[in-house]
């Protein structure tokens, strides 16, 4: 089995390094950071933190160098999905491509470029400590399933899940992975947008005066999920409170807050913006998500 990770940042590196631990799996990585790519090719890809491992990954900044792959795992920031997939689509002419990105709307972009698409949601997180070295901050499960409009066959979904699980990234293959994806989307939309606008950590967002607002934002997300016939696998509110515990992620700055503080483009279009867009398609209003999307885009504009 040959797998290529598209976008080898923190999450992409976790998948890449773990998959190298599985016999018979050859791992490639496509990433635009030349220093990271060079370090991976020279010294291997190193993971520390929640687990210690090293893997031999063939990395490249040039999509034309990629061989034909059985699987792709897309882990770029959402706003780079389209460009990254346009660059390396030919490597997946006979393969299936799985998004493990944040939010909703990425699979639709992957499906513009490849025939077999897998919907995915992942909880593990980390950060790039140095070129070729990622610190694994949080363990967690991954859920994958066929992307309905351009589905990969279920046996391929199972094969990828099994490889990831054997490598040390527990992954569940589902006929319908939307429930898991929308639970995380709804949770993320509330936590990230409020944090980005207020500067608060996740734990403080879960307290007054923003707690009630977070619940209202999640309520809108639930209505949009319901309208699509999506059954959430668990409650996003439960996840919200769990993450707000001191020993879990009370002091965590959600990624969109980190982006705003660093004045980087945010993933708002794939979080609250996606809830609005899917709501529009199914005749459900999401005024709070729409308002927060406009505010975060306003913040991005304020940087000039």
């Amino acid at each position: 089995m040959r797998v290529c990770v598209v976008g080898c940042g923190a999450v992409g590196s976790l998948f890449a390094a773990h998959l190298t631990q599985v016999e018979g799996v050859e791992v490639w990585a496509y990433d635009l950071d030349p220093r990271h790519v060079e370090a991976i090719n020279r010294n291997g890809l190193r993971i520390s933190g929640a687990g210690e491992l090293e893997g031999r990954v063939r990395a490249t900044t040039n999509a034309a160098e990629l061989p034909a792959c059985d699987f792709g795992i897309v882990a770029t920031k959402s706003m780079h999905t389209d460009a990254a997939m346009a660059a390396c689509a030919s490597a997946f002419a006979g393969g299936a491509v799985c998004s493990v990105q944040n939010g909703a709307g990425n699979e639709e972009l992957v499906a513009k470029h490849v025939a077999e698409v897998i919907r995915g949601t992942t909880f593990p997180a980390g950060h790039l400590a140095a070129p070729g070295h990622v610190v694994w901050d949080t363990k967690g499960d991954t859920h994958i399933g066929p992307f309905e409009p351009r589905p990969a066959p279920m046996e391929k979904v199972r094969a990828l899940a099994e490889a990831c699980t054997r490598g040390g990234m527990p992954t569940v293959a589902l006929e319908d992975a939307r429930g898991a994806q929308w639970r995380k989307l709804i949770f993320n939309a509330a936590s990230n947008a409020i944090a980005a606008v207020t500067g608060l950590t996740h734990g403080r967002v879960a307290e007054p005066p923003t707690r009630e607002l977070a619940w209202a934002i999640m309520g809108e997300g639930r209505s949009v999920a319901d309208a699509q016939g999506i059954v959430l696998d668990r409650d996003p509110e439960e996840l919200f409170d769990f993450a707000a515990r001191k020993e879990v992620a009370y002091d965590h700055k959600p990624s969109m807050l980190q982006d705003v503080e660093a004045r980087r483009a945010t993933e708002i279009d794939f979080l609250n913006g996606a809830i609005v867009a899917f709501g529009d398609r199914h005749g459900v209003e999401a005024p709070l998500n729409r308002g927060l999307t406009a505010i975060v885009k306003g913040i991005e504009r304020s940087w000039g």
Partner: protein, 313 residues
């Protein structure tokens, strides 16, 4: 002729005191002793739309204030309660005028004395350059009307005439609430959106081309506000959305000549890590909405976000 006392030496208070000093015996009550000393020493310089140095009797001690017939309470809404308490027992015959943003200023002053009250809102703005220098930026009107029947319309006319003779612009209304509510709905929207996006009041506030453009949020917030005004039985004097469109258009014309990008006061407060007036503006609107049974989910959200931003920011 009226003897005038301006309470509060911020931008707006300084603009009133500076202009009125030319036509009335004018005193200015400030918080800090050094501020009063600087004004006594240097006079009050007003630049920008006006250009002069005025002599005002400044003090930080209410007991030192000379007698006055008209008191203009020109503090921020957040400081009004403390300022009014310093006047308790003083100037029993004087008319007091409140000019604070939002709602509820008159009730706060009423708790400290039974002076006849004039309700007012002002659209003037300026920039503070020091204790003794303020720049007059927007030379827009002060709107005023009798509060709760406690003063006659003639008295309000006298105050208007005084302001105009001092070089300020003013207009009277038999009932200020339609104008007050127009400004409330406008401010509750423009100030909170600016405070949360870090954008001055620019063209994006009126843009509605794309589905998530900022203008949609501004428009929806104003529609919520208009529903509250309607439930309160107030027919708005101006449409807040039209005020918004006109203001950003004027801003863009002036920006093209390199002058103007208006930073709403709540954004200034957030940038300076000061407490904002959100309780008196959006908070007042949300409380009115609750009292009247009108749903205002967007304003409630903006209120919570600004409060949280004050705490986290």
């Amino acid at each position: 002729m009226d003897r005038v006392c301006v309470i509060g030496g911020g931008v707006i208070g300084s603009l009133y005191a500076g202009h009125l000093a030319g036509v009335a015996e004018t005193s200015l009550l400030v918080r800090r002793e050094e501020h009063a000393l600087a004004l006594e020493r240097e006079g009050l310089r007003v630049s920008g739309k006006s250009d002069f140095v005025a002599r005002v009797a400044a003090t930080a001690d209410p007991a030192e204030l000379p007698e006055f017939d008209l008191g203009i309470l020109a503090t921020k809404a957040t400081d009004l309660d403390a300022a009014a308490s310093r006047l308790a027992g003083l100037a029993p015959g004087a008319t007091l005028m409140t000019i604070q943003n939002g709602l509820g200023a008159e009730e706060i002053v009423r708790r400290h004395g039974d002076w006849p009250l004039v309700s007012a809102v002002t659209f003037m703005s300026g920039v503070r350059h020091g204790d003794a220098h303020v720049e007059y930026e927007l030379d827009t009107e002060t709107w005023m009307g009798p509060y709760d029947g406690g003063v006659s319309e003639e008295r309000v006319e006298q105050v208007r005439a005084l302001l105009e003779s001092g070089g300020l612009r003013a207009r009277t209304f038999p009932d200020l609430r339609p104008a007050q509510w127009s400004k409330l709905v406008f401010n509750a929207t423009v100030n909170t959106v600016a405070a949360l996006t870090d954008l001055p009041h620019v063209g994006q506030f009126a843009a509605r081309d794309q589905p998530v453009d900022l203008g949609h949020l501004v428009h929806d917030l104003m529609e919520e506000g208009k529903r509250v005004a309607a439930a309160a039985g107030v027919e708005l004097y101006e449409d807040p959305w039209e005020m918004n469109v006109l203001a950003v258009r004027r801003g863009e014309t002036e920006a093209a000549s390199g002058h103007y990008a208006h930073v709403p006061s709540m954004l200034e407060d957030v940038r300076s890590h000061r407490r904002t007036e959100v309780d008196f503006i959006t908070g007042a609107l949300v409380r009115e909405a609750q009292r009247l049974g009108v749903a205002v989910p967007l304003h409630s959200a903006m209120y919570r976000l600004v409060r949280a931003r004050e705490a986290g920011g």
